[in-house]
């Protein structure tokens, strides 16, 4: 099956310092794809490029089977988008905002939109500009969902929201995903949140996609090893060594990637002892990956 989002060799530049070079990205159908990366790494820019809000210098972007450059309106009719900043008319009330949106999307589900308004406990008569940050976030998610899209592109949808609102918003999202075979592309800083429900993960740093793997493989593959007596250079390792730190008493901590249980045998061959294999959660793994990506070691 073709990918829902497919980016090939994307090249974009803004100003003199920011550049996205040779970006390849794939979101499989039905995936809940978590897009991680530090501030300024280019996540929002990549999302904007994917939806045609920005023009790349070169590269091909295909969304829902169509090239976004040529068929943006057709594609966007099936995409529910929540941008990182509130983008809606501040003067319109919640009810008027819903009516405005409904006029543009033939797939709009009015009864469900009204149920979500009640579920989110929103006052329909409030102008959008006067809502609290949490309420604005709820309205934006509501709009994206009530459209019944095939693809949801969410740019830090829970950023700056309190935990209660975050739960409400994510519950509604997962409720929708459970009903439909929708694909979700969600970027966030809240790694633990993504860890709960994403089955794919892409990590961005400094304009490059550092890794793109199924979630389980990423989480299971990154480990912290307690090693003793290893020689200074460890050649021929079956895993990827990300970092190596000396603790006291000749013991070391190795951070490795693509680990599999059978690889313990390697340490005998180099005359070292593997004392412990420690699991890392997503956030720890993400931090280690970036740390070593920025200052590569041998």
């Amino acid at each position: 099956m073709t990918n829902i989002i497919e980016i090939r060799q994307l090249h974009y530049r803004a100003g003199r310092t920011f550049e996205i070079k040779q970006l390849d990205l794939n979101v499989p159908p039905g995936a809940i794809y978590g897009f991680l990366g530090p501030n300024g790494s280019g996540k929002t820019t990549t999302i904007r490029l994917a939806l045609g809000l920005l023009r790349p210098l070169t590269g091909r972007i295909t969304v829902l089977g169509d090239a976004i450059r040529d068929h943006a309106p057709r594609v966007l009719a099936r995409v529910g988008y929540v941008p990182e900043q509130p983008h809606l008319d501040p003067v319109l009330t919640v009810r008027e905002t819903l009516a405005f949106q409904a006029a543009f999307y033939p797939t709009w589900d009015r009864p469900w939109a009204e149920r979500l308004v009640r579920q989110f406990d929103l006052d329909e008569r409030q102008p959008f500009g006067r809502l609290s940050k949490g309420e604005k976030g709820k309205v934006m998610m509501l709009l994206a969902l009530a459209q019944r899209p095939d693809l949801l592109v969410l740019d830090e949808p829970t950023d700056g929201l309190d935990p209660v609102v975050r739960r409400d918003v994510l519950s509604a999202l997962l409720d929708y995903v459970s009903q439909r075979q929708a694909t979700v592309f969600i970027s966030s800083h809240l790694v633990h949140e993504l860890e709960r429900f994403c089955d794919w993960i892409g990590v961005m740093d400094n304009g490059r996609l550092v890794t793109e793997v199924p979630m389980e493989r990423f989480k299971n593959g990154i480990k912290r090893l307690r090693v003793a007596g290893a020689p200074p250079t460890a050649a021929g390792a079956p895993f990827m060594l990300l970092a190596r730190e000396h603790a006291n008493g000749g013991a070391e901590t190795w951070v490795v990637r693509d680990w599999e249980p059978g690889m313990a045998a390697y340490f005998e061959t180099i005359g070292a002892a593997l004392n412990d294999v420690i699991d890392l959660d997503l956030e720890e793994g993400f931090v280690e990956l970036l740390r070593t990506f920025r200052s590569p070691r041998g």
């Binding site: 509604a172 633990h192 709960r196 959660d281």
Partner: protein
């Protein structure tokens, strides 16, 4: 029942969910014939991937704890006492394994551990 699901734990989420359900069924908290929440409902409530819930339900179905009836929902099956006992034994082993591994990490010897157990159990039946 499902509070403190820990996505950071090395145990995958579907296994954590399945464990909770298995324990609840074996202990009789969930009676035979009781309806379990739909995949959609549980995924939304726990904020997990629906595939996670599906996997947990499927695992339990293959173990004979649940029955997924097309169109009607998911229901608890009548569980034989042997299965319950087996489940309790399994939970007990897991507890012991956990305790032993933690003791090892802390440098507590087997002897010290046994003494502590006798002590605690002794307190309980005092």
């Amino acid at each position: 029942m499902f509070d403190k699901l820990d996505p950071r734990s090395p145990t995958p989420l579907y296994a954590q969910i399945a464990n909770r359900l298995r324990v609840a069924i074996a202990a009789g908290e969930l009676r035979p014939g009781a309806a379990l929440p739909s995949v959609r409902h549980l995924a939304a409530e726990l904020r997990v991937n629906p595939a996670t819930v599906v996997q947990a339900y499927h695992d339990l179905e293959s173990e004979g704890f649940l029955e997924m009836r097309q169109g009607a929902g998911t229901f608890v099956r009548e569980v034989a006492p042997e299965s319950r006992a087996r489940e309790r034994a399994r939970q007990a082993s897991a507890l012991v394994r956990q305790m032993l591994s933690e003791a090892g990490r802390l440098g507590v010897s087997l002897h010290e551990l046994q003494a502590a157990i006798a002590d605690e159990i002794g307190v309980g039946t005092a």
